[in-house]
């Protein structure tokens, strides 16, 4: 899973629920047609506690039509479809075996399988063979030649940070390789030495500065308040992981003139606390030797082929034109970080800048104090880049009735080492899913629609395998894909299932969660859905189904599907209780200690959470592949649009727009049209379809399938030309307080508030595009020909 290759908030992990964020947790004062949206909240920034999106009472004015979007009234239970095919989901769920998943994981974690290595190809071939053996109709290796990067092979050239005395002698040096902590498995070749993929090479010496999470706010505070008058140019920055993505830290550090960036995992962010559990190898928590690896490229896909697939013969940018980092960046463990940080001089920052390193006061520098005064830090990065093959494996089961409609399920395969959590827990589940589905096929069953299986390569470098594939086949996938189900990490804890989904497809997730029992003894007899609500502190008396499943993020392979092609996505994984263990992400994320033993002994003994995930995903897969009418609820989409609209109201955005003479009328008109249209579609058109008329059913399904596509602007988003989703792409500007309409938010945030002569035309343009796209999306749901004759103003 990528938490950092994309410079966004809310792209994964603990941030996945950020759409229900603090600004929204407070009472929402929705102006216009919303009378009340209530919400409640719990706990602080590291929790993912749930919120209630309250009664959404909408009075549609302006066109004289009153509509009430009911509360918890699902106009059509997707499970009700009288389908001529047997529902095989119960049989499927029953057949999933935890012991198989355990064995899959054990086999897959015998060797590190970093993208582009021989071991990665071996796993690809193994997956392909397994799928064919399981009974999948077809399976292919689909490789792309992409730019990858590796730490130096020779330890003498290893990446490192050092403290040099005034004579240039090395006083201290960070670990040159991964400490195996006595685990035999880790002494094998292939666990890469610590590095950040796509770092610039370099050998830089300078004074160290501590910059907290290296967010723009942090650097502004550092520059203006903590170290006013200090020239940060040429300083070596040290940041802790968390707060924002890796690549964003790099962009920010570069913009403040850093000559190099060190990043470490602070115990404060990764739960190293004896009262909670022990560090690896005696528990699932971070030892001082663990280093988080990861990509620091800000884009997605092969950096050399933006917008196009990296096939043979593809045009490739020079590396110098690819927007890669320009400074050396190196990740270090917190044992080494403490050795650097405790020597820093300078002011001691406020509490929220202070981590939990023993003996460290988190002075920010610049430079060292006491005996270390005058000593410099040296950062050496010698990683080398190469174009290598990243292998996808694509499998196929042909549908019986609608073979040209695809339900796709995928999971990346490459890992930063053994990857027992990320992503091999998912790969182990996907193999079990294919086994059960394959058995069903061997017994004569075939899905109504085709099922496509994807095992993606080089996800850790920036979602490369899946992005290249969606680039190569976007016409094909855009015309045939009903949904994409994303497995990545399947199990990083055994407490709560964390789902996410595109709005109108979320009923599929809810139904699957209702169909699977929570494996935890303390929740015996509860479905995953019920326990999810209980654990999440949703207010069950005041629940809008539209908002139960959080929106899809951007940190895994769904990215290319949803933002590039416009395919609705579903994702989810098991996690620990982040209230009890407040962490930035699971402790050993992307470290060398993601071992089978970690999973079996500490995270998911018995593999019961793996089993539950496999049951949920298979249930969704079969529901989508077999249902006669796609079990969606398009009203969820309009509710999301109104939620996002309400966020414009409750912040300064609406005031700013109105202050600058921009009218909300057209956006509001488009929203109301979309609300009416989704309501009519879901409550009248879908229920009245003649189930005996295959083309009538197909017409309904096509509208459902293509709704997500309708929100893509073929012209791309401003400043993000390969992102096209006008609703759910993420604003590029880091100042955006939370997720809502990315083009509009970026345009507003890019304006200097203090400039009275600022040009608001880009804001006007984005507001107009948003209105147009929503109106256009309505047309795709309407019965053919139902253009209404609305004369423009003044006619």
């Amino acid at each position: 899973m990528q938490t950092t290759s994309v410079t966004r908030t809310g792209d994964c992990g603990h941030l996945i629920f950020s759409f229900l964020d603090s600004s929204f947790r407070s009472r929402v004062h929705a102006s216009m047609h919303f009378t009340k949206m209530t919400s409640n909240s719990k706990k602080g920034r590291h929790s993912y506690l749930m919120v209630v999106a309250g009664a959404l009472l909408c009075m549609i004015v302006g066109l004289g039509v009153g509509l009430i979007i009911g509360f918890l009234v699902d106009p059509k239970d997707p499970g009700d479809n009288p389908t001529p095919r047997l529902d095989k989901r119960a049989e499927y769920r029953e057949a999933v075996k935890a012991s198989n998943i355990r064995e899959n994981l054990r086999e897959l974690t015998q060797k590190p399988h970093v993208a582009g290595t021989e071991a990665d190809l071996e796993t690809a071939q193994a997956i392909k063979s397994k799928w064919l053996e399981n009974g999948i109709d077809e399976a292919y290796l689909v490789p792309y030649r992409v730019l990858l990067q590796y730490p130096p092979d020779d330890e003498s050239a290893a990446n490192r940070a050092q403290i040099l005395d005034n004579g240039g002698n090395v006083v201290f040096e960070t670990a040159l390789k991964s400490d195996p902590l006595g685990e035999d498995i880790l002494t094998q070749d292939g666990i890469p030495a610590p590095f950040c993929a796509y770092s610039a090479s370099g050998d830089v010496t300078g004074e160290l500065v501590y910059c907290n999470y290296c967010t723009l706010d942090d650097l502004e505070y550092l520059s203006n308040t903590l170290l006013p008058g200090v020239n940060l140019t040429g300083k070596i920055f040290i940041s802790r992981f968390g707060g924002t993505g890796r690549s964003t830290k790099v962009v920010n550090a570069q913009s403040y003139g850093a000559s190099a960036l060190l990043i470490y995992s602070d115990p404060a962010d990764y739960s190293v606390n004896a009262s909670l559990g022990l560090p690896y190898p005696n528990g699932p928590f971070l030892p001082p030797t663990a280093v988080q690896r990861g990509s620091i490229f800000v884009g997605v896909g092969d950096p050399l082929t933006p917008g196009y697939p990296s096939t043979d013969g593809a045009f490739r940018l020079d590396e110098s034109d690819a927007g890669l980092p320009t400074i050396p960046v190196h990740p270090i463990n917190y044992g080494d970080a403490a050795n650097l940080l405790r020597r820093l001089t300078g002011p001691r920052p406020p509490l929220d800048w202070q981590g939990n390193l023993e003996g460290v006061n988190y002075e920010v520098g610049p430079g060292f104090k006491g005996v270390d005064s005058g000593r410099q830090v040296r950062v050496v990065v010698n990683s080398y880049s190469e174009q290598r093959l990243a292998y996808n494996v694509i499998g196929f089961i042909h549908g019986e009735i609608e073979p040209d409609r695809y339900v796709i399920i995928g999971n990346h395969r490459d890992a930063w080492g053994l990857g027992a959590v990320d992503p091999t827990s998912g790969t182990a589940c996907l193999l079990e899913i294919t086994r059960v589905i394959g058995d069903m096929k061997k017994n004569g069953w075939r899905p109504r629609r085709s099922i496509v299986f994807g095992s993606w390569g080089a996800e850790e470098y920036g979602l490369i395998g899946s992005v290249e594939w969606t680039e190569e086949y976007y016409h094909l996938l855009g015309s045939r894909s009903v949904a994409y189900l994303n497995l990545d990490i399947a199990v990083a804890g055994n407490y709560i299932f964390r789902p996410s989904a595109s709005p109108h497809i979320s009923p599929v997730m809810i139904e699957a969660m209702k169909n699977v029992l929570d494996p935890a003894p303390s929740y015996e007899g509860q479905s995953i859905y019920d326990s999810f609500l209980n654990k999440s502190d949703y207010n069950k008396d005041n629940l809008d189904e539209s908002f139960i499943i959080p929106r899809i993020g951007a940190g895994s392979d769904y990215y290319g599907f949803v933002y590039g092609v416009g395919v609705s996505c579903l994702s989810g994984y098991f996690f620990y209780d982040a209230d009890t263990y407040p962490t930035s992400f699971y402790s050993l994320y992307h470290t060398q200690y993601e071992t089978f033993r970690l999973m079996e002994e500490f995270i998911d003994p018995g593999f019961v959470s793996h089993r539950a995930v496999s049951q949920i995903f298979g249930d969704m897969l079969l529901n989508l592949a077999d249902s006669q009418v796609i079990p969606a609820n398009v009203i969820h989409y309009s509710n999301y649009l109104f939620l996002y609209y309400s966020r414009l109201n409750v912040t300064s955005y609406r005031d700013k727009l109105v202050d600058h003479g921009l009218s909300m009328t057209y956006l509001e008109r488009a929203l109301l049209e979309f609300m009416r249209t989704t309501d009519t579609f879901q409550r009248e058109i879908v229920p009245s379809v003649d189930k005996n008329d295959p083309l009538a059913v197909r017409a309904i399904n096509d509208r459902i399938m293509l709704l997500e596509r309708a929100f893509l602007d073929r012209n791309g988003l401003p400043g993000q030309p390969t992102e096209r989703h006008t609703i759910f792409a993420y604003p590029k500007n880091q100042k955006a307080p939370y997720n809502t309409f990315p083009g509009l938010v970026d345009a507003i945030e890019n304006i200097d508030e203090n400039d009275p002569d600022a040009d608001w035309s880009e804001v006007e343009k984005q507001l107009s595009i948003l209105s147009y796209i929503i109106h256009s999306a309505s047309s795709t749901l309407k019965r053919e020909g139902a253009w209404t004759e609305v004369m423009p103003n003044g006619v």
Copy 2:
């Protein structure tokens, strides 16, 4: 019809067959796998004589599969489909009445109906009423608020050119308004005074220079050879119409520093020759008082909203940012032109610069000779721009079996005056088509698929109504449109039917032409198809059906459909014998003399050509709307790709690519894949489809429908971001010798041949995009899941 708003060759009229141009007329030496492509030719640049694309014998090597693409062997006669529905085409054709069309045209030419005027709205309302009366299910006005321009209302401010003596006195002045030549109909309000839409306003004085057609070649020759050392900056240019589009002349004149541009119609280009016929009002030819109007904007659609619809609330550019002409441009009649040209001094140019104006030697200037020496020319343009409503009328007949599949037929409605030829001959036909179809519906018939009728507004200003509509609904249209049939001018002569079509849909055109009799007495008993072949001098012994119907152009409302949305298009109209009457386009094109009398007395007495056009279009409409399997032949598409590929071979392009180290391998590989795929699809998949399985048939039809879409690059073409068709869009660079792969050709032509250090990376990129898109298009035709496992080079 737009001949000039788009800076392209081959966009209409006599250029429509330019794909079979002189470079291709010579024997084609196709390298690689082509053994022979023969062709023959006839006559010069103003003829549109046909060519034979000879036997295309393809040996597919490399994968060990031999394929012969047969000659005249249609793998599947589209008429063969056993469809459960009655074929209503004969009944339809029989019902079309010339007298009705005559009456339609008479009514519609009672008043000028320029876009944005009250009369234009009245025609829109009339069309809507008529359609509903005829039995169309639904009809709506769909207006857009767009930038339009008009000549000054007040004659004292009228646009004009003058000759000033040294004291500033007016020695000569061009006509300030349209001379009605005694036609009562033309004395009514509403025929606009001569103007070029979107000219800059201005009042400019300077020396006159004659620049022939104002092509880049002309201006280079003028500057380097005819007037070396003369500074052209600030000169007023005078050009004749023809040779290139209006807007291209303006762009070129601006690039050479002209302060203003006058454009006139030379008798040499518009057949003013007593032996052929008389000028209006005594014949169909150009009198000295006639002025061609037209748009000079280089883009399409509303200039203020590129890429987005001009709805209320839409963001609009400032006019100064819209790429509008920056100099005054004014069209004049040839009587006035002679008065200017005969006074010019300077060298007499070569013969191909000389027209047929009596007493004019076509000296190029600068400035005047003899008594006029020292006298200056003044150009005054006071046209005013306004945002006004352009009305589309959209009609709808719901399909019985596949209502969510659209066959669209459209025709623009606005004219530069009465527009009896352009476009009202088409409007008159479309009304008759709706009457007959409506009658069929009243008698209980309903088409299998839905039929959409479009009456477009403001086409003459730059295809505005249709482009805005396709921008607003591109998601909807992209997912549902089977084809677009374009009527514009229906009849500009009574000799030959000139068809054009997207490659794989052309069998529909051929079939319709076979089903309709040629109305000319001298071709009695021959079908339009047979007489077309005879008149075109095709070599019937050596005919490839793929190339019988020329490719679609860019000069009418199909533009937004095919290049923006990727909808396959069909178009056609009757024309005179351009061998006998060599003209740039029909004589009275866009002049004030496009009257009902012109049509009835001189162009189509008896309206038999109108009837034939209506029969052909109705036949195509019903064939597309009623056939169970869409009657296409995708092999035509691959043959076109190979034709375009062969053009790379027979020019210097291939050599240049190879000389610069660029490999043709990937393009050739993609082409062969596409050829194999289309062959399999057409010869195996289509014939074997189970006609009793509605979803299997739909799956076939969807692939056919979406094939054109598959050639769009969502990222846009280089320098033409709102054009996406990688095969059939037109190169932007005027140096491109003929139409083939626009992105690649532009990239090559944009390189300075004399610069050994020129950067070829854009060429490499475009070559790679082309290969990728063709490969990607293959995937959309393949049976699902049929990815082949081709390992990249070196594996």
